[in-house]
């Protein structure tokens, strides 16, 4: 199960039973599921209108598991686009996961290739942000993270398939449910801020993303702004470190 090169810290919690691990993962996943439900239902309805059967919808959610890319794929499908442009578009939209997986790798050092392969499947914006926050707590480990990922995955598949049956069980806009994911992202952003440097990086990333989103067509702005802001953060930290070494003002 582990490479055995270094005793992984997460082994501490190995004594926990399987059911306790799954319970923790499922319990932590509920805000994600709440956010996925309306989006999944809406996607299912849209995909059904584009001519997809519930089985086809479920297969896409199972194989792709990426909300925004699936929405765009379906709108391209109903516009009569060929497979290759859809696949290329999917690639560019989901390229941001490259950065997220890189960041997650720091916390998954003890896993073998098989578990990593399974873990990679569940990397989404939501599960990434939630797990990164949780990994800083001693009570969280990769097993709970996997349980969280797959709970979110099940919620996504189920809600898209339900939507595909034409059932809008939740009327549009009810209880402000459209704001579930934005609210969750805002809280996850707050939880990631651990000092002035992080505030600076967040501000730079947000402002660059706004500017890039208006200048660059498509979704490349997310990756571009994120990478630029993180680079800025590294230089800022370096500069700050030097300034304090030299008895600087910062």
């Amino acid at each position: 199960m582990t490479s055995g090169e270094e005793p992984p810290r997460t082994q501490e919690r190995n004594t926990d039973g399987c059911s306790a691990i799954i319970r923790d993962g499922v319990a932590a996943a509920w805000p994600i599921c709440l956010g996925y439900a309306p989006i999944g239902l809406a996607f299912g309805v849209l995909a059904q209108k584009a001519g997809l059967t519930p089985a086809e919808i479920g297969l896409m959610s199972l194989l792709v598991f990426a909300g925004s890319a699936q929405f765009i794929a379906v709108s391209m499908l109903s516009g009569g686009a060929a497979a290759l442009p859809i696949i290329l578009t999917t690639f560019t939209i989901n390229l941001r996961h490259l950065l997220m997986s890189s960041s997650l790798a720091v916390h998954l050092k003890c896993l073998n290739a098989g578990w990593l392969t399974l873990y990679a499947y569940g990397v989404t914006d939501e599960s990434f942000a939630l797990n990164m926050t949780r990994f800083r707590e001693k009570t969280w480990d990769w097993r709970r993270a996997l349980a969280l990922n797959h709970t979110a995955n099940l919620a996504w598949i189920a809600s898209t398939v339900l939507g595909g049956y034409g059932g809008l069980f939740i009327p549009a806009g009810a209880f402000g449910i459209d704001y579930a994911l934005p609210a969750m992202f805002i809280c996850l952003l707050v939880l990631q801020i651990r000092g002035g440097l992080y505030v600076a990086v967040a501000l730079i990333a947000g402002l660059l993303a706004v500017a890039f989103s208006m200048l660059i067509p498509g979704n490349a702005y997310i990756v571009a702004a994120t990478a630029a802001a993180a680079t800025f953060g590294v230089f800022l930290k370096e500069w700050k470190g030097r300034a304090s070494e030299n008895g600087g003002v910062l």
């Binding site: 956010g35 896409m60 792709v64 859809i86 960041s103 806009g173 609210a183 990333a205 702005y221 994120t226």
Partner: protein
């Protein structure tokens, strides 16, 4: 379900999966240089901000600035609540409630 559709979703699945998989396999195996570890440490805060802010202050296709959105207005008390409580469940509930209430009073 026809073969064309199967190939399409398989292709979409592969191009989505590879960027999720390659860094996990490559980076979890070897020691990272300090600057890379530091760079990756900034990724969560940067990517969340890059996802949120454009959604709150721009609309349309092509995107243009539009700061008069209920989502932006609601994000301020939501942010403050998150900052004070650091509770994910609470923030989601409060954010939804505020957004729901705001929907009852359409901006003229």
């Amino acid at each position: 379900m026809n073969v064309d559709y199967l190939l399409l979703v398989l292709g979409m699945g592969i191009v989505t999966y590879l960027p999720r998989w390659i860094p996990l396999i490559l980076l979890s195996r070897r020691p990272m240089p300090e600057w890379l570890r530091q760079w990756l440490d900034f990724i969560p805060v940067a990517v969340l901000s890059a996802l949120i802010l454009p959604a709150l202050v721009t609309t349309g296709e092509p995107r243009h600035l539009d700061v008069f959105q209920p989502a932006l207005l609601i994000s301020i008390p939501t942010f403050l609540f998150a900052w004070k409580t650091r509770s994910l469940a609470g923030t989601v509930t409060v954010g939804m409630a505020l957004f729901w209430i705001a929907g009852k009073f359409p901006v003229p």
